[in-house]
């Protein structure tokens, strides 16, 4: 079981990218499970994924990084026992702090993960404002990532993209940073993020 964590602030383009990644994996005959945690009384992303016949497991009743860490671990163990996916893709709410999720993973007692990769998604269109008012959360998204994907590069100004890359480097010099837009070939990204798939 390989684990892929997609974090990013609300509206950063997580779900859009996750849907592309899942479609790509399915085309490669990879058995995928998606673990979604949405805040709000009615989940939209899980409805959409189910509508597209994806295998979705939902964590309900709170935020994955606060009250649902234990549920995350038990759901992963259940997935391992009952479904044995090749890839588990975790999409937490955009309000979640990925650090808390990563801290919970060592408590997982199922079949050891073959790989564990954290991807953070930054929306350059309003990153400067969010970085000013949501500083700790944005920094955590960056610091807890193996890969930082700067999305919406087809819509953003060069300065906005440069800002996203600059603060990513400042807070996580080890991370690989990629610019992404709807035309970015997914295979290029996936070869980096999920080399085991190739």
């Amino acid at each position: 079981m390989n684990l892929l964590l997609f974090s990013g602030f609300l509206g950063s383009g997580k779900t859009t990218l996750v849907l592309r990644v899942v479609q790509y994996a399915l085309e490669k005959d990879v058995k995928v499970a998606i673990l979604v945690n949405e805040i709000g009384e009615v989940g939209i992303d899980n409805q959409l994924m189910r509508q597209l016949d994806m295998n979705v497991w939902e964590l309900l009743g709170g935020c994955i990084c606060c009250t649902l860490s234990a549920d995350l671990v038990s759901t992963l163990e259940q997935l391992d026992r009952e479904y044995s996916p090749d890839l588990v893709l975790i999409e937490p709410s955009g309000a979640a702090d990925p650090r808390s999720i990563l801290r919970a993973l060592p408590f997982y007692k199922g079949t050891p993960f073959e790989s564990q990769t954290a991807v953070s998604i930054l929306d350059p269109l309003r990153l400067e404002m969010l970085y000013a008012v949501m500083t700790p959360l944005i920094i955590s998204h960056i610091q807890n990532a193996d890969f930082v994907l700067v999305t919406k590069c087809d819509l953003a100004e060069d300065e906005q993209i440069a800002f996203a890359r600059r603060i990513s480097l400042e807070h996580n010099p080890e991370a690989s940073i990629f610019n992404v837009d709807p035309d970015t070939p997914l295979s290029v990204l996936m070869e980096k993020i999920t080399p085991w798939m190739f």
Partner: protein, 125 residues
């Protein structure tokens, strides 16, 4: 600014617009932008995400999403042609506002829009 308070608001809305003539994207975009504008005009709130989803047979869907009043909405999928009624899930995630205030803004904005577009929008009970 109390930006850390996040009280999500969600509702299922029924849309009935006999004269819509396929302009669902325009209508839903206008709804979400208006909610974003109303929510942020006091300068005390930050839009997290405002989005709608409608589901149709055969894996079809229509999703509209707004992250700021001054950034154009993004859409995915589409509404099948000829529809004059729609069931829409609306999620409003805005930092710095109470859920009751978001509900008031969302429902009053929908009501104004319905009058402007000569249709009806009403929440599921």
């Amino acid at each position: 600014m109390d930006v850390l308070k996040l009280e999500p608001y969600a509702v299922t809305l029924h849309f009935s617009f006999p004269d819509i003539q396929g302009r669902w994207e325009e209508l839903l975009s206008q709804l979400l932008i208006s909610i974003a504008e109303e929510s942020t005009k006091s300068g005390q709130a930050v839009v997290g995400h405002i989005k709608t989803l409608s589901l149709f047979p055969e894996n079809q869907f229509f999703r509209v999403s707004v992250i700021a009043p001054d950034i154009p909405p993004t859409t995915e999928g589409g509404v099948p042609p000829g529809r004059t009624e729609l069931v829409v899930t609306l999620n409003v995630l805005i930092y710095g506002m109470a859920q009751a205030d978001l509900e008031e803004i969302a429902l009053s904005t929908a009501e104004k829009l319905a009058a402007e577009w000569k249709g009806r929008i009403y929440p599921e009970t």
